[in-house]
Symmetry: C2
Subunit: 417 residues, 2 copies
């Protein structure tokens, strides 16, 4: 059992923060047992870890990140998407065929993700099964929560990154099978997006999805180009999302669609039918000029919106920076497209990064009773003599904080840094 | 004399970076004497400060920042402008009547600006002369380059922040007179913006401008509201900028107009006639929903564009973050308003923050021969085993760096941290 004293903050819902000032949080067997203004008698005398005026918050959930692009973050960010893919991303991803290249990068990625307070993530690896296996194995060993995918691509990509349908299905099945019993870091089927996967590959992946009860992550109506290209390559389909539905990829586990900026009504209807997540990646969609997700419009249509860093299209591995950025972009969205796109408030953005995104992994992303105690302690945000409320501390952290302001990290109730 | 070894990077112009890898920079009496691939014979045997593969760049010039809003940065950032002004900014600014409140905040602001690598800045204080004097005195004592203004407001603001015309002129004159002989941190006339200054106040300030050879800083066509309100309050004027021109405020020193998002052709013509600067403040204009400056469109019309943080409307005191953000926002500008608004490249954005902005202060913002050696040493951006070029180091620093990546700071040739 662990008892913590401090200010405790998490999301009640998309509109409201729960804030417990000067309170006690009791965690038992790695799960939150309760929060108390006065420590109940049964706990008197127990050891207390005192965080004073620091703020204890849930660890973050990054629902879209490319581990293989970690070494590209913050480079070539003024390029156009096609140049960035061809000059940086594709040549770089191809190097993950070499395990001596892959291992140190995936280790650095995991270390840095932890440093940034993200303990739950939906991760794209590359097409290479061996490197993807290394990544998911390391995630599981470290106790991190994730859905990790070996990427599928059999068309619309350079030769050196293209698989045959048979190879792609065979390697994906080996990956799904090898890690099917993982406890926290689980395999997920990961067609890069419709422009790089043929219909027969999609259908084959659908069969694997059913056999292994595996979910789906992909880029969904990511850009105007992607939505149009999907329709060009899949004639007879009414929208991008239907490609996955008809392949049987949306019935057997979580569905995570990155970006979702240009959905038709059919895309929204299909995503909602399967309880899928739409992942808002503010910096990435700015860097690659894809536009701005209509967060409030989507939520008014009951879409489950969450947040992602999309490293390396996005530059920062800190999901907290994307909390700030999603508030900012919602203001620009409103400026340019005022209908149905009201700006979102800070509690809403914080919710996307914690409770909303966390729900894909199970009971993480909150500090309510029964949730896993995956938590961060935030400090150092106040100027001398000008105290901040807990909500102000967390807001300022999301705008100008760094990993140095994460004073402690708890994963499954254990202090890990 | 100082000799430095390392990679040296600065802007040639808005299109090109000058990069000297593995070179020597010689500074004499605080100014750059030259850069050499091989150290000339006359310097052989002299002591060399070796920065290895680190990158030496010019210190930054922040052309728009409110020192008095330092303690508000990153708070209330989801509010609308009027709420933010009334709930945070105005009540907070009023406290600068109290020197015990003002002193530690201005000291912390200066320390933090230095920490972020900004040694040259155009700074708004508040209406309070005594606190403004403290700020400019401390800037001068520390050898920082600046234009610092006591703010003028006699209308359109809460009672507790409103001066009479007489008070405003009297206090401004005392401020201009007291610091007229400053060497690096100079006084500048600072009407907050047209909605808070009457015509007679503007004209009185124009007289002081002439008498003291003082320049002008203000918010210029900052938002649609501001541009319209200016025209409402100044009937018979053709545009916001003309208010300052007709008051005689644009003839006697630098002219620095913050934001400049909605200029008419007349605004542009008048600003250019006086060689004025338009200051792009990407995060601030996002936070307050003012829209996006059309950087490339303005530059094609020969407007002198520079960069500002606009703390506290902007949240970060790191001008380098605004380099990244200006590239990002130029992409969104292009997405929403493709005509004449091509995205800007990283070298262009870096130029805005260094050589372009620096020119208002004199020979700072470059490392060409004759420039003051106000410089930063950037390191720690490369991942293990994946080397970066100097330009990549600086780009990544602007996207994901922190003050920890500024390994050394030189002001007037002297190491200051």
């Amino acid at each position: 059992m662990n008892i913590f004293h401090g200010n405790i903050l998490f999301s009640k819902n998309s509109r409201e923060l729960a804030v417990y000032e000067d309170s006690y949080l009791v965690a038992d067997h790695g799960k939150v047992e309760g929060i108390y203004a006065v420590l109940p008698e049964q706990y008197q005398g127990a050891e207390i870890t005192d965080y004073g005026s620091d703020v204890i918050i849930p660890a973050f959930s990054d629902l879209h990140v490319h581990a293989s692009q970690y070494v590209e973050r913050g480079l070539g960010m003024d390029m156009l998407l096609s140049d960035w893919l061809n000059q940086y991303t594709f040549p770089q991803e191809s190097r993950f065929a070499d395990m001596n290249y892959a291992r140190p990068i995936y280790d650095a990625f995991i270390d840095d993700m932890i440093r940034h307070g993200t303990f739950h993530a939906c991760i794209f690896a590359t097409i290479h099964r061996e490197a993807s296996s290394y990544l998911i194995r390391r995630m599981e060993e470290r106790g991190l929560y994730g859905f990790v995918g070996k990427v599928n691509m059999n068309t619309g990509a350079p030769d050196y990154l293209r698989e045959t349908v048979e190879e792609s299905l065979l390697e994906t099945e080996r990956f799904l099978d090898e890690f099917k019993d993982n406890k926290t870091a689980k395999p997920i089927i990961t067609p890069r997006f419709a422009p790089t996967c043929s219909e027969d590959l999609m259908k084959g992946l659908g069969t694997l999805s059913k056999k292994y009860h595996a979910g789906l992550q992909t880029h969904l109506v990511e850009s105007r180009w992607e939505a149009e290209e999907a329709m060009r390559r899949f004639p007879g389909y009414q929208c991008d999302t239907e490609i996955y539905e008809r392949a049987g990829l949306m019935d057997n586990g979580p569905v995570v669609g990155a970006h979702f900026i240009f959905p038709s009504e059919a895309d929204i209807r299909i995503l909602n039918r399967h309880g899928g997540f739409a992942v808002h990646c503010p910096d990435a969609t700015t860097n690659i000029i894809a536009g701005i997700m209509g967060v409030s419009a989507l939520q008014s249509q009951d879409v489950r919106v969450s947040l992602g860093t999309d490293v390396g299209g996005g530059h920062s591995l800190g999901l907290y920076t994307q909390i700030a950025r999603s508030v900012q972009l919602s203001k620009l969205k409103w400026f340019y497209e005022p209908e149905q796109n009201k700006p979102i408030a800070f509690p809403h953005a914080f919710y996307l990064a914690t409770k909303a995104g966390g729900s894909v992994f199970g009971n993480v992303g909150s500090l309510e009773k029964g949730y896993v105690f995956n938590a961060l302690v935030i400090d150092g945000m106040a100027d001398e003599n000008i105290p901040l409320t807990p909500a102000q501390t967390v807001e300022r952290f999301c705008y100008i904080g760094t990993t140095d302001n994460i004073k402690a990290r708890y994963l499954n109730g254990r202090l890990i840094g």
